[in-house]
């Protein structure tokens, strides 16, 4: 699932198009710049820490690119496999909640009925601070 989200977002960056439109101009496959990697890492909190990982990403994109071979002229994009179904509307009644104790059991760290999380954002080192291994 992560890979799919990453794929969609990286297509957006590379193709400059909407994340889920596939009618982009044919792109050259391959080279992904260091700036793009940093962007993706920040968004998806995935660490492309090695050349191999980046190469794998490039291969994944090339693999997905084969979708372009499909002729979609005049075909409306499908929004969801549920698009012909009826969206159920619930009445505005209170029927859930009041289970703080149960929910808090899932948490490793709890303080007085609050979940505990690390402070703020996980700061990633800036591009120039990293070990240089990518040359764009």
């Amino acid at each position: 699932m992560w890979a799919r989200a990453v794929w969609l977002t990286s297509r957006g960056v590379l193709g400059g198009c909407q994340a889920f439109a596939t009618k982009a101009n044919p792109q050259e496959s391959g080279r992904i710049t260091a700036a793009v990697i940093e962007h993706l890492e920040r968004l998806a909190l995935v660490d492309f820490g090695s050349r191999e990982a980046v190469a794998r990403l490039e291969k994944a994109i090339a693999f997905a690119d084969r979708l372009r071979a499909v002729d979609t002229d005049g075909v409306e994009p499908m929004e969801s496999v549920l698009e012909d179904r009826c969206l159920y509307l619930r009445s505005d009644n209170v029927a859930e909640g009041n289970c703080a104790e149960e929910l808090l059991q899932n948490s490793h760290c709890v303080v007085e009925e609050y979940f505990v999380a690390p402070p703020g954002n996980i700061s990633l080192p800036k591009l120039d601070e990293k070990e240089p291994f990518l040359h764009s």
């Binding site: 619930r90 029927a95 909640g97 954002n121």
Partner: protein, 541 residues
């Protein structure tokens, strides 16, 4: 509540990403700071910046500011947008959280009908086009108060688009000179609220309360057509009034039910738009106006000193991190013509039905007040703008015989003046509508003079539970009812001041006023000057 997220450091200094805030919507975008990601829109600034054309005249060229607002209003409903947990302001932490809100595996969103109706009502009230089909998306970002790692929103195809909001601003320096302006509404969408984070700096941790996670929000996006803090404040106030009149949101900024983010840039008219910065987390309208004006000024100063505007949180203009919500089919709305036969009424939403049932909007209320009571438009604005004042006014009108214009004047000038001076809300007024009505009745029947009425008002303000009638009798403020006695006083005063009488007969206005003053004093201020004047003239002819 939240510490306002304002960036007001010195010129030329980079702003650090400030994540310390509780209860804010977290906009995590790509930190840019470089020129290549600047947003330069082609749309021109259409409207004259009436309110700030003077203020922005700095340096050699005039500056124009462009302000765009994004408003998040919490929907007033019993349960949340996609789950059946309760919506409530203050409750023990994590007590109003369902399994879905906590994003436990195996849970699915189920749309709340009331939230859809609220969105349609708001869209109609704001003259929007209602999309009969709208879609839900996931917006992905990481933050501890967003347990799913994404927010369900309506990015691609929202429920309402292309609306407008009309408002009035003062033109130039005269207060009474008002102009009507319109701001276009780009779209209205349904989305989930996030939980709340409380930052514990000491122990370097964040405490998460998910009670607010999943509450329904209406996001209202305005086109960047405003030009200063005052316009923004007026627009927000009008939107608040509309939402409150509809009942779709209580729109109380202090309680976080209405959150406003402002995008601000400056440029020279005729040149392309400048770089935007964002001002967020403001919990009062007044503060919002000041923060916007401050930021405009800061940008102007920065640019005039050769600096540049840096934007650290480029928000979700970038279409990244979105995907369709796979668990929700499209939301389909109907009107009377397209209503499917035999459909369950609980499962369909009829736009026409909702339109017919819309409550009276503020603009209509104001028009009605002007028509019915003959007041000036600006009075109607003041009556609606002060919380509770309209109700107060209407209650006084119910109980008094006095003319509407008198009531309007006393409520807007005297009462409101006192309330403002003592920093009180209408609900805290020591004078009740009944008490004021009693006072106005006395005035109307000429039982007291207007100056005596002011004294009675002062006494009523002390809130000791006495009525106007009681105060008048206790303090002997009633006008002399004995015409004979008054005539006698006039005669004796005229006899004591023959010179003034002669001057008066010659038409000297100062002489008349002197005599009136003397008679009044002799009558212990219990005589109306106009009545005295008439008597003096009668006696001297």
């Amino acid at each position: 509540m939240a510490a306002p997220l304002l960036r007001w450091f010195g010129p030329g200094r980079r702003w650090p990403l400030a994540w310390v805030d509780s209860g804010s919507r977290h906009r995590r975008g790509v930190p840019t700071g470089s020129a290549s990601n600047r947003t330069r829109e082609q749309s021109s600034v259409a409207q004259q910046p009436l309110c700030t054309s003077q203020k922005l005249r700095k340096g050699e060229h005039k500056w124009a500011a462009v302000v765009g607002l994004e408003i998040h209003a919490q929907i007033s409903s019993n349960s949340k947008l996609f789950s059946g947990s309760q919506v409530c302001f203050a409750a023990p932490p994590n007590s109003l959280v369902s399994f879905f809100d906590a994003s436990l595996p195996g849970t699915l969103p189920v749309l709340n009908r009331r939230c859809v109706e609220a969105a349609v009502m708001t869209g109609l009230a704001l003259n929007c086009h209602i999309n009969k089909k709208s879609l839900f998306d996931r917006k992905h970002y990481f933050y501890a108060d967003l347990p799913a790692g994404y927010q369900i929103t309506q990015q691609r195809l929202p429920i309402a688009t292309h609306g407008s909001l009309t408002y009035r601003v003062s033109v130039g320096t005269k207060r009474s000179h008002m102009a009507t302006k319109t701001v276009r509404i780009k779209q209205i969408q349904l989305e989930q609220d996030s939980g709340k984070s409380l930052h514990d700096g000491l122990r370097s941790q964040t405490l998460i309360d998910l009670n607010r996670a999943g509450v329904g929000l209406l996001e209202v996006v305005l086109e960047p057509e405003l030009s200063c803090g005052e316009e923004a404040a007026t627009v927000i106030r009008e939107l608040q009034l509309i939402l409150q009149a509809l009942g779709t949101s209580q729109a109380n900024m202090a309680e976080g039910q209405l959150r406003v983010d402002a995008n601000i840039s400056v440029h020279h008219p005729g040149e392309p738009l400048g770089i935007r910065t964002e001002v967020k987390n403001l919990n009062s309208i007044r503060f919002l106006a000041r923060a916007i004006d401050y930021e405009i000024q800061r940008q102007i100063n920065e640019l005039e000193h050769g600096g540049e505007i840096l934007n650290e949180t480029r928000s979700f203009d970038s279409k990244l991190g979105f995907m369709p919500e796979p668990n929700l089919p499209p939301l389909v709305l109907y009107d009377t013509a397209s209503l499917p036969a035999g459909a369950q009424s609980q499962q369909v939403i009829n736009i026409d039905q909702i339109r017919d049932a819309l409550p009276e909007l503020p603009s209509v209320t104001r028009e009605r007040l002007v028509q019915r009571y003959g007041m000036l438009p600006e009075h109607s604005f003041t009556l609606l703008n002060e919380v509770g004042l309209l109700q107060f006014f209407q209650n006084v009108m119910k109980e008094t015989r006095a003319e509407p214009k008198k009531v309007t004047s006393w409520v807007l000038n005297v009462l409101l003046g006192y309330l403002k001076h003592h920093s009180l809300a209408v609900s805290e007024s020591p004078i009740t509508p009944s008490a004021l009505a009693g006072l106005l009745d006395l005035l109307d029947s000429k039982a007291i003079s207007s100056s005596a009425a002011k004294q009675v008002f002062e006494e009523l303000w002390k809130g000791k539970g006495k009525t106007a009638v009681q105060i008048v009798s206790e303090k002997q403020l009633g006008l002399m009812q004995d015409q004979e006695a008054l005539e006698q006083l006039c005669r004796s005063t005229m006899e004591e001041h023959p010179q003034a009488v002669m001057d008066m007969k010659k038409g000297n206005p100062r002489a008349i006023n002197k005599l009136i003053g003397l008679v009044r004093k002799a009558a212990l201020n219990r005589a109306d000057p106009a009545v005295i004047k008439a008597l003096l003239e009668k006696l001297s002819s």
